[in-house]
C-alpha cells in the first residue's frame, strides 16, 4: 500500500497525463484577462478606423456576433459545448491551443 511498490495510476499504467476536469481560479482569472485583451484589440481597431471614417467587414461581424468579456456568461467563459460529454459541456482548457484561440459562442440551449 505504501513505499516503492504501491499501486498508483502512474506505476500500474506507465505514462499518465491527467488534465483536471475544471479550471483553477487562477486559470479562470487569466482566461478573463485574455478575453479582455482581445476585446481591447478589437476596440482599438474599430476606434482607429472610425476616426478615418472607414470600417471593415471582419470587424463589424465580430462586433455584431461576439459577446464581450463583460457580456459573457461564466458558463461560456470557462466551458464549451461538446456533443460527446455528459451534459454536453467540457472545460475550455480541453480545447487545443485554448489560450490562443477565440472560443466564445456555443449552440443555443446548451
Amino acid at each position: 500500500m505504501f513505499g516503492a511498490f504501491r499501486v498508483t495510476n502512474s506505476l500500474s499504467g506507465g505514462l499518465l497525463w491527467k488534465i483536471p476536469w475544471r479550471l483553477s481560479p487562477t486559470q479562470k482569472y487569466r482566461q478573463r484577462q485574455r478575453l479582455k485583451a482581445v476585446d481591447n484589440v478589437v476596440e482599438t481597431l474599430s476606434k482607429a478606423l472610425a476616426k478615418k471614417g472607414e470600417t471593415l467587414q471582419a470587424l463589424e461581424r465580430w462586433k455584431a456576433e461576439m459577446p464581450t468579456e463583460a457580456e459573457m456568461l461564466p458558463k461560456d467563459k470557462y466551458t464549451m459545448f461538446d456533443r460527446k460529454e455528459k451534459r454536453y459541456r467540457k472545460g475550455i482548457h480541453k480545447l487545443p491551443k485554448w489560450t490562443r484561440v477565440s472560443q466564445r459562442l456555443n449552440p443555443p440551449g446548451y
Binding site: 485574455r34 485583451a37 482581445v38 481591447n40 484589440v41 478589437v42 482599438t44 481597431l45 476606434k47 482607429a48 478606423l49 476616426k51 478615418k52 472607414e54 470600417t55 471593415l56 471582419a58 470587424l59 465580430w62 491551443k97 489560450t99 490562443r100 484561440v101 477565440s102
Partner: protein, 119 residues
C-alpha cells in the same frame, strides 16, 4: 498620420500556417517585437486575424528601434549638473614654458650629457 503599434505578445508556435503567414506579413518574427503600420483597413484586417496574439495601440509617431531602446533604458540614478571645461591643447605647454623661463642657469655645472643645470 497615425499608426498601429503592434507587439507580438504570444508566440504562434503550433498555430496554423495561415496565422504564422499573417504574422510574417506584418513583419513580426519573434515575441515582444514591435512594428508600426499605418491605420488602414488592410492592416486592421491583418491584425484581426492574429488578435489573440498581439497587443495593439494607435500612436501618432513611428518610433525607430533606437528610440524604443532609449525609452526602455533604466534611469542611471544620477545627472551631471554642469560639465567641467576641457583644457585647451596649447595651455599646458605654455605653462611649462613659463616655468622654465623663470629658472636660472647654474654657472659652471653641467649634467653628464653636457646640458645646463637649471634651478
Amino acid at each position: 498620420m497615425s499608426y498601429f503599434r503592434i507587439t507580438l505578445n504570444r508566440s504562434a508556435i503550433g498555430l496554423p500556417k495561415r496565422t504564422r503567414g499573417v504574422l510574417a506579413a506584418l513583419g513580426l518574427h519573434k515575441r515582444m517585437q514591435t512594428v508600426y503600420h499605418p491605420v488602414e483597413a488592410q492592416f486592421a484586417g491583418m491584425i484581426m486575424k492574429v488578435k489573440e496574439l498581439v497587443r495593439v495601440a494607435e500612436v501618432d509617431k513611428k518610433l525607430t528601434k533606437w528610440d524604443l531602446h532609449a525609452a526602455r533604458k533604466p534611469d542611471p540614478g544620477f545627472y551631471v549638473e554642469s560639465t567641467v571645461k576641457r583644457m585647451e591643447g596649447q595651455a599646458p605647454l605654455k605653462a611649462i614654458a613659463a616655468v622654465s623661463a623663470q629658472q636660472k642657469v647654474v654657472e659652471g655645472l653641467t649634467t653628464e650629457g653636457g646640458e645646463e643645470v637649471r634651478l
